[in-house]
């Protein structure tokens, strides 16, 4: 929600807002692991930063520009991949046309993760 007093205020800058009660979280499961795609997102972040395509500041900038809905509806790594993608395009790693072509190619491989992971 845009702060009517300060329309330039971004969603991440929420210090001082009324937060309401702290939600009770589920007990963390010690067997919890990240899924493969989440680990790949993490790796992509490390590689992209090491190659100089973006900094952690660039990642934060895109995350913070996403708006409240993104934080309510997307998971942590969904927000990350959106930000990494935006930064890689801005950094010149690939173009939106390259991405569109690759996405179409992978979509054509099949519905399941296993199908889509193996090159045809």
């Amino acid at each position: 929600m845009i702060d009517p007093k300060n329309p330039a205020r971004r969603w991440h800058d929420m210090g001082g807002d009324t937060a309401g009660p702290i939600p009770e979280m589920e007990t963390p499961n010690e067997n919890h692991d990240f899924s493969l795609w989440e680990k790949r997102v993490d790796a992509l972040m490390i590689i992209g930063a090491a190659k100089g395509y973006f900094t952690v500041d660039g990642l934060r900038r895109v995350l913070e520009d996403m708006g409240e809905d993104a934080f309510e509806k997307m998971t942590y790594y969904e927000r990350w991949i959106a930000s990494i993608n935006q930064n890689l395009i801005e950094g010149g790693a690939y173009t939106t046309a390259d991405l569109a072509e690759k996405m179409a190619e992978i979509t054509a491989r099949g519905e399941t993760y296993g199908d889509a992971s193996s090159p045809t």
Partner: protein, 90 residues
């Protein structure tokens, strides 16, 4: 010697790291931390000049006024020099 500073009240759209609730508030420089590349440039992939970073100490009374539960408690925030001005500046 402690230097009293006011956080500038400027409100630019874009990526800034100075919390809105501290803008316009007065604190003292608790220590200076050295110079670091300006994250407001890094965030846009621009060449970043090194800017002095200070740890500034505020009282809860200064930050929250009458809403402060413990007015004498303090809060430290690390703020870049270009966001600070002398507290007596008009």
């Amino acid at each position: 010697m402690t230097q009293a500073v006011r956080v500038k009240s400027m409100m630019p759209p874009g990526h800034v790291r100075t919390p809105i609730y501290l803008r316009g508030k007065i604190g003292v420089i608790e220590r200076s931390l050295g110079e670091f590349p300006n994250p407001e440039d890094l965030a846009y992939g621009l060449p970043a000049t090194a800017k002095p970073l200070h740890r500034v100490r505020f009282t809860m009374d200064e930050v929250w006024g009458a809403d402060a539960e413990n007015p004498c408690d303090t809060l430290d925030a690390e703020i870049y020099a270009h966001w600070l001005e002398p507290a007596d500046a008009t």
